[in-house]
C-alpha cells in the first residue's frame, strides 16, 4: 500500500530543512526526499550564514552547528586590471556574541541541519529523486519518485528542490528558468594554516573577514566575486549571469583563474592548496522573476521560488525564512482543520509580502534590468574610479585642482556628461 504523509518536502537544503523542521516540531508526519547521497552533497553556497533567520527556527543553533568564522569585517572592492578601490567596515561590535553572520562549509552545515530535522521527527530518504507530482485535477496529492513503487501521497507538498526546479516547471507551475534570470557561480576552497588566514586578514580566534568584489573581474558581464575566510581555508568565487557567459563565450573557470591572478588577490591565496571546486546556479532574476509560489496542495520555497537578494548576496536566509513561513501556513491551516487549497495557502504569500523576503526583492526589482542593459557599471566605472584614485594619490608635482580637472575630463571623455548623469539617475531609481 502506498505511504501517506501529512506533508512531503522535496529537497534538503536550507529552505527544505527549515520547512521540514518546523512541520515536524509541530507534530506533523513529514517525509523529506533528497536526491543527493546525503543532505549537503549537492548543495553549494559561498557560504555566509545569516544568524537571524536560523535563530528564529533553532534558537540555540550556536551550541553545536558547524560554524567557521563570525564576520567582523566587510570589504567591498571595485577592481580594474591592476588595482582596486574600496571600502572596509570593521567593528568590534561584530566581535561580541551573539554574532550576526558566519562563514560556513555547506556540506557540514547541511548535515547538521538535517540531523536536527530528523531529531525533530521528520523522516528523511536520500538518493531518491522526485520525478513527478501526483495530481488530482489541479490539486497536488503526492509525489512520484524514481524508485519502483515510488508513489507517495501527502496533504501538502512543499517544493524546496532548488534553483532549477524541474519539478515545478514540469508541473506547469512556472516556465523554464531563463538564462537572464540565473547566475552561474564557481568557487574554490584553498586550505592554508589557521595562523596564515589570521595573519593575512588581521583577525584572531574565530573572527573572519568577507570581501565582496565587483568590476573588471567579470569582464563586463553582470556579476560579482567574493572571498571569504574559513577556519583554515579561504573560499574564493565568482558568478555571472548565464546569459552573459553564453553571449561572451567565457567559461566561468577562466574567469576565476584570471580573478585569482589579480595582483591584489594572488598574494592572499599564496601558498594555499586548492581542495574543492564547485559550481552552482543562483536564481538572480529578482522580484519580477518570482513565480507563483503556491497552489492547490503545493508551495514553493527557497531558490526554487527565486528568493535570492543578489544585491546583498543573501539567499540562504530568504530560503530558511520562506521554508519556515510555508510550514507555519500549513500548521495554522491544520490547526483550524482547513484544507490546503490555493485560496487558503495564499496566507503563505501574505507572510512573505509582509517580511524582508519580498520587501527587499521589491526594493531592487529594477536592478537586474539596469545592470543587464548597462555593462559600463562593470567595466568603465571601475576603471574610472581606480584611475581617479591613482591620479589623486600619485605625488608628482601636479596641483590637486588640475588633477581634479583631469579626472573630470577623463570621466566626461569616457562616459559623456549625459552618460554620467543618466547612469546616476538609473542607479538612483533602481536603489530607490
Amino acid at each position: 500500500m502506498a505511504e501517506k504523509f501529512d506533508a512531503i518536502v522535496v529537497g534538503a537544503g536550507p529552505s527544505g530543512n527549515a520547512a521540514a523542521y518546523t512541520l515536524a516540531k509541530a507534530g506533523m508526519k513529514v517525509l523529506q526526499l533528497e536526491r543527493g547521497e546525503y543532505p549537503g552533497s549537492k548543495n553549494v553556497q559561498g557560504a555566509i550564514l545569516y544568524a537571524d533567520a536560523l535563530e528564529k527556527i533553532i534558537p540555540d543553533f550556536r551550541d553545536d552547528a558547524p560554524l567557521e568564522r563570525h564576520i567582523i569585517e566587510q570589504r567591498m572592492w571595485v577592481l580594474d586590471d591592476e588595482s582596486y578601490i574600496g571600502t572596509h567596515y570593521r567593528s568590534d561590535d561584530f566581535n561580541k556574541p551573539p554574532y550576526n553572520r558566519y562563514t560556513i562549509i555547506r556540506a557540514q552545515f547541511d548535515k547538521w541541519f538535517s540531523e536536527k530535522v530528523q531529531e525533530a521527527g521528520a523522516m528523511l530518504i536520500c538518493e531518491t529523486t522526485v520525478s513527478d507530482l501526483l495530481m488530482d485535477g489541479k490539486r497536488v496529492i503526492g509525489v512520484q519518485t524514481d524508485r519502483l513503487g515510488g508513489e507517495i501521497y501527502a496533504d501538502i507538498v512543499i517544493l524546496a528542490d532548488g534553483v532549477n526546479s524541474l519539478l515545478a516547471t514540469k508541473a506547469g507551475f512556472h516556465p523554464e528558468i531563463e538564462p537572464k534570470n540565473v547566475a552561474l557561480a564557481v568557487k574554490e576552497i584553498h586550505f592554508m594554516p589557521q595562523e596564515t588566514v589570521e595573519a593575512r586578514f588581521n583577525v584572531q580566534g574565530d573572527a573572519g573577514v568577507v570581501i565582496e568584489m565587483a568590476g573588471k573581474i567579470t569582464q563586463g558581464m553582470m556579476g560579482t566575486g567574493f572571498l571569504y575566510t574559513n577556519k583554515e581555508s579561504l573560499t574564493i568565487g565568482v558568478g555571472c549571469m548565464l546569459s552573459d557567459l553564453k553571449k561572451q563565450k567565457i567559461s566561468p573557470y577562466q574567469l576565476l583563474e584570471q580573478m585569482k591572478a589579480h595582483p591584489s588577490i594572488a598574494p592572499i591565496l599564496e601558498g594555499g592548496e586548492m581542495k574543492e571546486y564547485t559550481a552552482h546556479l543562483i536564481p538572480e532574476g529578482g522580484y519580477k522573476a518570482i513565480p507563483q509560489v503556491f497552489g492547490d496542495g503545493w508551495m514553493i520555497v527557497g531558490d526554487a521560488a527565486m528568493f535570492v537578494n543578489a544585491m546583498h548576496r543573501e539567499g540562504s536566509n530568504l530560503a530558511m525564512t520562506s521554508g519556515c513561513f510555508a510550514a507555519e501556513t500549513v500548521i495554522e491551516l491544520a490547526d483550524k482543520q482547513k484544507p490546503f487549497t490555493a485560496k487558503n495557502l495564499a496566507r503563505y504569500r501574505e507572510k512573505l509580502d509582509a517580511s524582508f523576503v519580498i520587501k527587499d526583492l521589491k526594493k531592487y526589482k529594477n536592478m537586474p534590468d539596469v545592470f543587464h542593459a548597462n555593462s559600463q557599471f562593470f567595466t568603465t566605472y571601475p576603471e574610472m574610479l581606480n584611475q581617479a584614485a591613482h591620479k589623486m594619490l600619485t605625488v608628482d608635482g601636479v596641483d590637486k585642482k588640475t588633477k581634479e580637472k583631469q579626472i573630470m575630463a577623463n570621466f566626461k571623455h569616457r562616459r559623456s556628461l549625459f552618460g554620467l548623469m543618466g547612469d546616476a539617475l538609473k542607479l538612483w531609481r533602481a536603489f530607490e
Binding site: M123, I125, T128, T145, E151
Partner: protein, 281 residues
C-alpha cells in the same frame, strides 16, 4: 536458506583529503559509505535469496555511526541488520575483528542455522583481505575467495559450485555448505532499492550488540589487546613533482625515437640495462 553478509562502513576514499599542513587525514565532512567490495557480496546474497528464498542478515563491527551503512543494506533488501559495537573492540586489527565477527555469527546461528557467509573481497580503507578468510577459518567453513560466478547451488545436497578468478585463469570449485564467499568486484551490479525498502530502511531499528551479546568471553582476543598488529608510522607519500620530458617526434624515424627513449631510460636506470643484457645472453 540463511545467508549472513559481513560489511564495513568506510570513509569514501574518493573524497578523503590529506591536510596540506599536518599531513593527517581530514575525515571531517567525508561521507561514510558501505565498503564498495562488500556490495558485490551483498548483491550476490540477495540474488540467491531471490532465486531460492531465505533470509539475509547483515552484520558489521564498528562504531555506532556504522548504523547508516547497515540501514543502506536493509534498503537494498536485506532482512535483518546487526551492529556489533563496543568500546572494548576499539583498536582491533584483522585478527581481533575476525574473532569478534565469528563469535557474533555463532550467536546468530543459535537462532537460525547459517548456510553461507558472504564478505567483501577486501576493504578500501584497510585493503588487507584478511577478515573474510579469518572468519571462515574460525568458523571452520569452506573458504571461496575471489568468486566471479556462482554456477550451482544445491541446497538439498548442501553443495555449491563456483567460478573463482585465479592467477592465469578461472578455477571451477565445488564444495559443501556452509561456506564463506568473497565476491570479485564487477561480477554483478547492485540493484536500485525499491521505495518500499527505502521506507523499511528508514524505519528499521538496527540491532545493537555489545561484546556480551556477541558471545565474547575472552576479552584478551578483542580490541587492542587481541591485536598483534602495530602501526608504527603513518605518512603521506611525497608527490612526484618531476615534470615529464616531451620529445619532439616531428621528422624522426620510429627507430631513432625508440633508441632515444631507450638511451634515456638506461641513463636513468643503468641496472635495467645490465639485467636485460644478462637475460639476453
Amino acid at each position: 536458506m540463511h545467508i549472513v553478509v559481513c560489511i564495513k562502513q568506510v570513509p569514501d576514499s574518493a573524497q578523503i583529503r590529506v591536510h596540506p599542513v599536518t599531513n593527517t587525514i581530514m575525515r571531517q565532512g567525508v561521507p561514510a559509505i558501505v565498503n564498495p567490495y562488500d556490495l558485490f557480496s551483498l548483491e550476490e546474497a540477495l540474488r540467491l535469496k531471490d532465486k531460492y528464498g531465505g533470509h539475509v542478515t547483515v552484520i558489521s563491527m564498528g562504531p555506532p555511526q556504522a548504523e547508516g551503512a547497515l540501514k543502506k543494506c536493509i534498503a537494498f533488501g536485506a532482512d535483518a541488520a546487526i551492529l556489533v559495537t563496543d568500546r572494548a573492540f576499539a583498536g582491533a586489527d584483522t585478527l581481533a575483528t575476525s574473532f569478534a565477527l565469528a563469535s557474533a555469527i555463532e550467536q546468530i546461528e543459535k537462532d537460525m542455522k547459517v548456510d553461507m557467509v558472504f564478505a567483501g573481497k577486501q576493504t578500501i580503507d584497510g585493503d588487507t583481505a584478511q577478515v573474510g578468510p579469518g572468519i571462515a577459518k574460525r568458523l571452520d567453513m569452506q573458504l571461496l575467495t575471489y568468486v566471479s560466478k556462482i554456477d550451482e547451488l544445491d541446497l538439498a545436497k548442501g553443495e555449491i559450485k563456483v567460478q573463482r578468478r585465479a592467477e592465469g585463469g578461472v578455477q571451477v570449485l565445488q564444495t559443501r555448505l556452509p561456506c564463506l564467499i568473497t565476491m570479485l568486484e564487477g561480477t554483478n551490479e547492485m540493484r536500485f532499492a525499491t521505495m518500499e525498502n527505502m521506507f523499511r530502511a528508514a524505519r528499521y531499528p538496527v540491532n545493537f550488540w555489545n561484546k556480551d551479546t556477541a558471545g565474547i568471553v575472552d576479552v584478551s582476543k578483542i580490541g587492542l589487546k587481541g591485536s598483534p598488529t602495530l602501526v608504527s608510522k603513518v605518512f603521506a607519500p611525497k608527490p612526484n613533482t618531476k615534470p615529464a620530458e616531451i620529445i619532439d617526434t616531428e621528422g624522426h624515424e620510429p627507430r631513432d625515437l625508440a633508441l632515444t627513449l631507450l638511451s634515456k631510460l638506461f641513463t636513468q636506470h643503468p641496472k635495467l640495462r645490465d639485467s636485460i643484457v644478462k637475460q639476453a645472453a
